[in-house]
């Protein structure tokens, strides 16, 4: 049979189309996720197995999914862990941050800038019905409770509760508590959206008691997170039977009766509790390092959920080798539905929330990035448990650095973007965001001092991470090792920045530690540049010479001796002093590496050799990622090289565009 011309053309079209599909598939093929575990951080320190339980909560909570409220009763077992007797306790009612427009949280929001600035369609409230101490007479103490911050008279997130009698050091008492929490429409970290409920910051929480008997209490600021003592949580959650629950801790029992689902969660060695309930949750799970990982996500989000599950499984191994093994039996991940994105990107002990659309691409690493970041918090916020209010960078900055470590180990240079011809890693993005913050604020300052959410993110997260990665590259491996020791040694111990600096000093020395302190406390910055590069032929000496006498005049013979003499001037601007390499590339391509300790404003490198220096590059291996401007780090003596690949690439792209756009 002979095909008509149309038939032949159609056949050719079909064959070529198939070839197109194959070409496209091979073009878009993304290399598989294979974790190349970096050398584990061997530390002489073994992390503590358990925390010192100070505040333990035993709660029965019933969620009304129509009124979006929780009615709860419970007992808080609390021990005076300080060295002095106390006559008061401070209690946080964080949910009241969303009670009205006058709370510190709402007042501090900068319209349109950052998280938690959306419209609050429904306000929240937290009403304590009873707060009595079994050992102190059993009277309701809440009648005497007063707002703890006179300078913020309208804020109801921080209460001082006077006690009728002293609680001696080491004495344990039991508070019997009953309260109602009305959830807000989804706002930052907590709230409801249709039938989806993210129940966070929902119970009266006793502020952490420091060694000296003072309470670390504070109003819920817009940019601040939390701080609390460790304890054991035993929580029974009661929801309609059609709902599924994702909660902090280990599920120890579940039953469905009378149209209600009641699940009981227990967990020791944690300092917060949150849960999510939804009647549309889908769940999948996996195992890694002996940890059961469960992800709860909306219908249709299977692919992005699989990405997150895989990221969590890979990073449990890597984090474990860096900062000590994850000590809990389970990790729960909640991927909130569309519209409830503000509930995503948050960490609670053993539970993290993520986010991203169902079509999140593997080539764009945002889904895994968020998962790895929030999981990283388990080792700093969760286990080391620093004061997130006073030193947010100790959590966010360290976690941002750690996130980069895991992304590099698992996904290499394509950690965040892995497209054909374009691979972008975490360090590049971190550097971009950090430098866009313009070093405007001190990194190691309390959360509420930051001027806006974007500045908070640029400094407490990204600049802190950038400082750490810079020091880790300049003093190779020292941050990595000292963080490994810090995370193990201070597990369950609530350290301050000094502890971090001390561990770093032990690894990298006093000079390096001084740079770290300048960078985090004094807005330290740095910019290396090649100032100039000049060469001339070496010539015989000429001029007036007295030795040996008598004085004689030697004329310039203009005769060249062997080779060239070049001077390269390198400059350092800024308040940080970091040792740096300088490469001198000689005509012909050979390289000489010089080292400058960075002390002083400039240094002049003298080079003598058979050929002149063509190119001078300061920090050729990009160790100083804090360097404010990398375009001035390299200079060519004879002028810049023409950007041929850019011309070619744009020319080709423009030709293709014009093929499509012009008739």
């Amino acid at each position: 049979m002979r095909l008509s011309r149309t038939g032949r053309e159609a056949l050719a079209g079909a064959v070529l189309s198939m070839a197109c599909v194959l070409a496209l598939r091979s073009l878009c093929a993304v290399p598989g996720e294979t974790l190349q575990p970096s050398a584990p951080v061997t530390s002489a320190v073994t992390p503590a197995a358990h925390a010192d339980p100070v505040a333990s909560y035993d709660i029965d909570a019933r969620l009304d999914t129509v009124a979006h409220s929780v009615h709860a009763t419970g007992t808080i077992e609390w021990r005076n862990r300080s060295t002095v007797a106390v006559r008061e306790v401070f209690v946080h009612l964080y949910l009241n941050a969303f009670k009205n427009s006058q709370s510190a949280f709402m007042q501090e929001r900068r319209p349109g800038v950052g998280r938690g600035t959306g419209t609050l369609r429904e306000f929240a409230s937290m009403d304590v019905k009873r707060f009595s101490a079994r050992e102190l007479g059993g009277d309701d103490l809440w009648k005497q409770a007063a707002r703890a911050n006179p300078e913020l008279p309208d804020d109801e997130t921080d209460f001082r509760v006077p006690l009728p009698a002293e609680v001696a050091p080491g004495q344990t008492i039991h508070f019997e508590v009953e309260w109602d929490s009305k959830l807000p429409s989804i706002v930052e970290r907590t709230g409801f959206q249709d039938t989806f409920h993210m129940v966070g910051q929902w119970f009266p929480k006793i502020a952490r008691l420091e060694d000296d008997g003072s309470f670390a209490h504070f109003p819920f600021h817009h940019l601040s997170e939390f701080y609390a003592d460790f304890g054991t949580y035993d929580v029974r959650i009661d929801v309609p039977s059609t709902f599924r629950i994702a909660a902090v801790g280990k599920l120890v029992s579940e039953k469905v009766e009378g149209g209600r689902r009641i699940e009981r969660y227990q967990q020791a060695d944690i300092h917060d509790f949150a849960f999510s309930a939804w009647d549309r949750f889908v769940m999948r799970d996996g195992m890694s390092q002996g940890v059961r990982v469960r992800i709860w996500y909306p219908p249709g989000f299977d692919d992005v959920a699989a990405q997150e599950l895989r990221a969590a499984e890979l990073s449990l191994a890597e984090y474990g080798s860096l900062y000590g093994a994850y000590p809990y039996e389970q990790l729960t991940i909640v991927h909130p539905p569309a519209g409830a994105e503000e509930a995503g990107g948050m960490e609670y002990p053993t539970l993290i929330t993520t986010g991203g659309p169902w079509y999140s691409l593997r080539a764009i690493g945002t889904a895994r990035g968020v998962t790895i970041h929030e999981l990283g918090h388990q080792y700093f916020y969760g286990l080391v448990a620093t004061d997130e209010h006073r030193f947010p960078f100790l959590d966010e900055g360290l976690t941002t650095f750690a996130e980069g470590e895991v992304l590099s180990a698992g996904w290499g240079a394509g950690g965040l973007v892995d497209l054909p011809g374009l691979r972008v890693d975490h360090a590049s993005i971190m550097r971009w965001v950090a430098l866009e913050g313009r070093n405007a604020e001190v990194v190691a300052q309390p959360a509420e001092r930051f001027s806006s959410a974007s500045s908070y993110s640029a400094h407490a997260y990204m600049r802190a991470g950038l400082i750490l990665i810079t020091l880790d590259r300049v003093y190779p491996g020292t941050v990595r090792r000292s963080l490994g020791t810090y995370a193990r040694k201070f597990r369950f111990r609530h350290p301050t920045p000094d502890a971090l600096v001390r561990e770093f000093e032990a690894e990298a020395g006093a000079d390096a530690a001084k740079q770290l302190k300048t960078a985090i406390h004094e807005r330290g910055w740095i910019d290396y540049a090649i100032q100039s590069i000049g060469c001339e032929l070496k010539r015989a000496p000429f001029g007036l010479f007295d030795s040996p006498p008598p004085r004689r005049a030697v004329a310039d013979s203009y005769a060249a001796l062997d080779g060239f003499r070049c001077d390269v001037v390198v400059a350092r601007r800024g308040t940080l002093t970091l040792p740096v390499d300088i490469d001198l590339v000689v005509e012909g391509g050979s390289r000489t590496r010089r080292r400058w300790d960075g002390v002083g404003d400039t240094t002049t490198l003298r080079y003598e050799g058979a050929a002149p220096v063509d190119i001078a590059v300061v920090d050729p291996e990009h160790r100083v990622l804090l360097d404010e401007d990398l375009t001035n780090n390299a200079v060519r003596r004879l002028g810049p090289a023409r950007a041929r690949q850019v011309v070619d690439g744009v020319l080709y792209a423009a030709q293709l565009a014009l093929s499509g756009a012009t008739p």
């Binding site: 079209g13 394509g414 011809g421 590049s428 375009t631 002028g639 810049p640 756009a661």
Partner: protein, 300 residues
Amino acid sequence: MSAAAGSPAAGRLWPLRHAPWILLIYATRSIAAFMVGSSFGALATRAIGGWPGGDAALLEPGGLMLSELVRLRMDSLLTLVTHAGLFAIAMVPVGMVTSTLLLVSLCDPRRVMLPETLARCGKHLGPTLVAYLVMTSFQVAIVWFFYMLAELLSLKLTSGLGVRGGDLAYGAIIGVSLIIVWLVSILHDVIRVAIVGRSLRTLPAMAAGWSIARRRWPELLAALWPRAAGAILVVLGSLLWLRHTGMSTSPRLALMALVQQVVAVSLVVLRASWLSRAAEIVGAGASDAVADEGLEYDQG
């Protein structure tokens, strides 16, 4: 009716007499593209031309220098991108002239001398421009209409089909609009061939084009299919090659540039081949259209 239509030689691409016009289209596009490329190149030269390897640093895995260039030169880059967009619009009339010159050559079985080609091109340019404006506006309207439709339905789609189903349905609506736009662009080509091949004014050409497209759509689609797929394939091929070999060294760079120019020429040749085949189909379609509908074609 023009002498060309339906004659066996019409639509043959390969006679070398079309080559100058194909090269002209390639050359004008390349010059324009070079001007755009050079301005981006000047910016990159200034920013990172000091680094060993020059702008190869921009392609290094991790994207550090690329992100640095974009971060520090964002304003200039946005200006250049805006200029490039405006420049592409300015290239539309140029492209219209060069492609009409090619069409004049394609639609005539004889070798047409330069003065005559220019004269005919001048004559057809007006109707071609009007047809371009009409068809392009039509395409924009289609996309706008479907976009509004998708927006209007998006809440209903999401509540009925779930987030994923709703998004997919939204995408399908936009996809349908793009397919229609593509079909309209085929019709547009047929109309342009009718204008040049049969010396028609815009309206009669549109009527003729519509009539032919309706009757002979299987032939038209079959003719376009391999050529369009071929065009996509050569572009994908060049990208695949780039991905697997990388650039950065001079000989490779030169080879890559050569491959890219071969692709650019191929795109013009494939388009010429399609227009030539369209001219054949339009020629063949003229007789049945006249017979069936008694349309008057020779008003041009």
